[in-house]
């Protein structure tokens, strides 16, 4: 026993004497020092790449559920989506860690000697652009928040933290800061196109400047037209009305710079097929001339499941499918090509003289509408990957001289071999993988083979700025400034789309054009907010057609001997999957501040209604 103790004691002694051979004194290989990073151009680029991966907020393709929150699409997966109101922290952005990291990067970059000043400039421009983009995303949700500039805070225990507690800036100051940053960096950045538009260049900075100025201008304008404008005493929320004109002018100048001087153009390579042209302009990277800055994805490693989850069942490549269903609310916004009232949507007629309206084909109500409908939505019998997507809820039979609806299981056929209910549905069910609205989404669906599998995923990008927005910003700013140029700009977008040009422009035309052009591109929610329209449209009334999701289901007429045999009828109804109308409350115009932030920094004031 004693011997063993001795042995243990000896071993410990030996170990303690010899342990310091440097084995534990290695340099960590996962934590880099500033010197290691900023003396190596490749490392500098890697660090910058990290920031690009941290700036995706709002609705986006890797989070398709986000598209079902507003009135463009509904969840079709499983049982109903009970959503009515919007959360107080919906799409709230608050990440000062990112700002601190970017400021550390800027400090390291400015001090390094590994790069020449000419090489540093575009990198500094990109970092500051991402920081401005962050502030913009935060500001559109929260209003004015602390601006920390280039400061890097370091905390040592026991120090006085009050010097780190910055008060909120005003909403106007925040937009001014974003605009001035964009103006300062535009000259530093590349003017060339970037691979897959993944990195920001001068034109992305110009677009951010234009969009920020437009948002600021519309808040100054429309907020003050409300009965009780939403504002705080210190201006953290709310912009004085007299600033509107200045902001609109900045927005117009920046957008015109992009239109006149940038290497991008409204992509119009397929004038013979405008629907395909629009799809390619937004959703195809190869030879794209439209998209200025996008969140790009690349296999392996950087892919997402949007195509996998949202492809039609008949075209699915894996188990998942049919998660999102586009709602009729959006579909009927796409105007008919030969309409007498260009620039506004129109309902799809389902009844005629007290009976069904009979259409010659399943796609008849849709194929003569705005070609952007084809490029955005998969409607019944539209082509995907060169085969049609069959959507058929059931048959319309004639029984004893009366029309009667017949439905069945998915992929069911009658004795004559006619489809009763198609494989894709639509069908009323609480099961997953069934379409329930009558429409699928096409925008951002990737046609690349195996892009719709769980294993690989899709490389589909999501554009953040594209040329059409430059035109729409120019159109809206011109409209608000009444300078007579709005018509030309909005008609440029409409001509490319393949719809009739407008003769005059109204505010409603601008709202409408933005909705159909930028559906599913994270525009509408923010547009409705800055125009202060959100509480009017999303009023929570379950009997309001605009506030509640609706469906449109196609039925094949099977009535041998009847003149309408083989034709199609459509039935419109509220969507059972969305039993509650969207209800945008006044408090939703600005996110609530987290109480934890206020406890940490008592200088932060709360937002209205909080």
């Amino acid at each position: 026993m004693k011997k063993r103790y001795m042995l243990v004691a000896l071993t410990s002694l030996v170990l303690s004497m010899t342990a310091c051979n440097g084995f534990l004194d290695r340099e960590p290989d996962k934590i880099m020092t500033d010197e290691q990073i900023f003396n190596d151009p490749v490392m500098i680029k890697s660090v910058l790449a990290n920031y690009y991966g941290r700036v995706t907020w709002g609705q986006h393709v890797a989070d398709w559920g986000s598209f079902a929150i507003i009135d463009d699409a509904a969840k079709c997966d499983g049982g109903p989506d009970q959503r009515s109101t919007f959360e107080d922290d919906l799409w709230r952005v608050y990440d000062y860690t990112l700002v601190r990291n970017i400021n550390q990067f800027l400090k390291g970059l400015r001090e390094t000697t590994a790069l020449t000043d000419a090489e540093k400039a575009p990198l500094e421009g990109e970092a500051r652009f991402l920081r401005a983009w962050y502030y913009f995303n935060m500001c559109r949700g929260l209003g004015g928040m602390p601006i920390v500039g280039d400061d890097i805070f370091d905390y040592t225990p026991g120090m006085d933290v009050t010097s780190m507690q910055y008060p909120r800036s005003t909403e106007a100051e925040m937009y001014d800061y974003i605009i001035s940053e964009c103006q300062a960096i535009a000259g530093m950045m590349s003017t060339n196109k970037q691979t897959n538009s993944a990195r920001a260049n001068k034109w992305a900075a110009k677009m951010l400047e234009a969009r920020a100025a437009l948002y600021a201008g519309s808040i100054a304008n429309y907020n003050n037209k409300m009965t009780t404008p939403i504002k705080t005493d210190g201006g953290e929320v709310g912009i004085p009305a007299d600033k509107a004109e200045g902001y609109y002018k900045i927005a117009l100048a920046a957008a015109e710079d992009v239109i006149q001087n940038s290497p991008y153009e409204l992509q119009d390579k397929r004038p013979d097929d405008k629907g395909l042209n629009f799809y390619q302009a937004v959703s195809v990277k190869e030879n794209n001339t439209e998209v200025i800055w996008a969140r790009d994805y690349k296999y392996p490693g950087q892919t997402h499941g949007f195509t996998n989850f949202n492809a039609p069942k008949s075209h699915a490549e894996d188990i998942d499918n049919s998660w999102l269903g586009v709602v009729l609310n959006l579909v009927e916004q796409f105007e008919e090509i030969d309409t007498d009232t260009p620039g506004e949507g129109s309902k799809i007629e389902t009844m005629e003289n007290g009976s069904y309206k009979f259409y010659d084909s399943a796609d008849a109500p849709f194929k003569n509408r705005d070609p952007r409908l084809w490029g955005t939505v998969i409607y019944p019998n539209a082509t995907l990957k060169s085969s049609p997507v069959i959507l058929q809820a059931g048959q319309l039979n004639k029984v004893d001289g009366k029309w009667q609806i017949l439905t069945g299981d998915l992929d069911s056929k009658d004795a004559q071999g006619n489809i009763i209910t198609a494989l894709n549905g639509p069908k009323e069910s609480n099961e997953q993988y069934i379409n329930k609205t009558g429409f699928y989404i096409r925008k951002f669906i990737d046609e690349t083979p195996s892009a719709g599998t769980r294993g690989r995923g899709s490389e589909m990008w999501m554009p953040r700025f594209r040329m059409a927005e430059a035109y729409m910003i120019a159109a809206e700013a011109s409209f608000e400034l009444s300078n007579g140029k709005a018509l030309d700009y909005i008609n440029a977008v409409r001509n490319r789309a393949g719809v009739k040009p407008l003769k005059t422009v109204t505010f409603d035309n601008i709202v409408h054009e933005n909705r159909v052009e930028f559906a599913f591109e994270d525009h509408r929610y923010w547009d409705m907010k800055r125009w202060r329209l959100a509480d009017k449209i999303w009023n929570g009334n379950n009997n309001d057609e605009l506030a509640r999701h609706r469906r449109l289901w196609p039925y094949l007429v099977v009535a041998p001997g009847d003149p309408n045999d083989g034709k199609w009828v459509f039935v419109e109804d509220y969507l059972f999957m969305s039993p509650n109308a969207r209800y945008f409350r006044m408090q939703n115009y600005y996110n609530f501040l987290d109480l934890g932030w206020i406890n940490n920094n008592p200088k932060l004031v709360k937002n209205p209604y909080q």
Binding site: S84, T85, N543, D544, M586, L595, N599, P602, Y609
Partner: protein, 224 residues
């Protein structure tokens, strides 16, 4: 050995049973109840969805998170609290009344019943609501309390539960361009199967003032 393990088990048991005393507080058992009133009369409000909230603050602590107090559709609220001095305030911009963020100091000892006076933009009086198979008819008086207020819309609402408001309903019709005074409206409900199939049916009308985030309601009328 066996004795040792027995002792050990006993020790563990004792620790398990007696361990939880030092760091636990008793649940709050003082009751604060109250009513939101105008001239002493309770207001009819929306009582669902945490729509109308009051905030209780207590000084002297590090954190300043308010305790949210939810108000029912009859204007009544209650909260279980510890004894102490609280500050009660309405939530900013919330409610069908003129925004007033003056604090009311509440001294709670055992229980307290308070009245929180507010100035609503409008009140609904003398409501007469009837429902036939095809129509809902409501006549009532919209009493203007704040002279500068304007009406955004009037809502006629039917619900199959006794919670009747702008969100909880089977039927809601919005009517705009309404002036205060005695009014009467009829809404077409023919073809609304939710209404015709409802075993129980309750009706209510509401008036939303421009600039308010919530409507003021009438009392609830049971139809069937």
């Amino acid at each position: 050995m066996k004795i040792l393990s027995n002792i050990f088990s006993l020790l563990v048991l004792v620790v398990l049973f007696s361990g939880c005393g030092k760091d636990n507080y008793d649940a709050p058992d003082s009751r604060l109840t109250g009513t939101i009133t105008y001239n002493g009369e309770a207001l009819n409000l929306r009582g669902t969805g945490e729509a109308i909230q009051l905030q209780l603050f207590q000084d002297g602590y590090d954190k300043h998170d308010p305790i949210s107090v939810y108000v029912g559709q009859d204007g009544v609220f209650s909260a279980m609290l510890f004894d102490g001095e609280y500050k009660l305030v309405t939530r900013d911009g919330n409610g069908p009344w003129v925004n007033n963020r003056d604090t009311m100091v509440v001294n709670l000892k055992g229980s307290a019943d308070i009245k929180l006076e507010v100035t609503p933009y409008y009140l609904i009086k003398n409501e007469q609501i009837s429902v036939t198979e095809s129509a809902m008819t409501a006549s009532f008086t919209i009493e203007q309390i704040v002279p500068s207020a304007t009406i955004n819309k009037v809502m006629l609402i039917l619900s199959k539960t006794q919670f009747v408001d702008d969100v909880n309903n089977v039927f809601r019709q919005d009517i705009s361009d309404v002036k205060s005074g005695a009014v009467s409206f009829t809404a077409d409900i023919s073809g609304n199967t939710d209404v015709s199939n409802a075993k129980a049916l309750y009706a209510r009308v509401g008036v939303l003032a421009n600039g308010a985030d919530q409507a003021i309601y009438s009392s609830i009328v049971r139809i069937r």
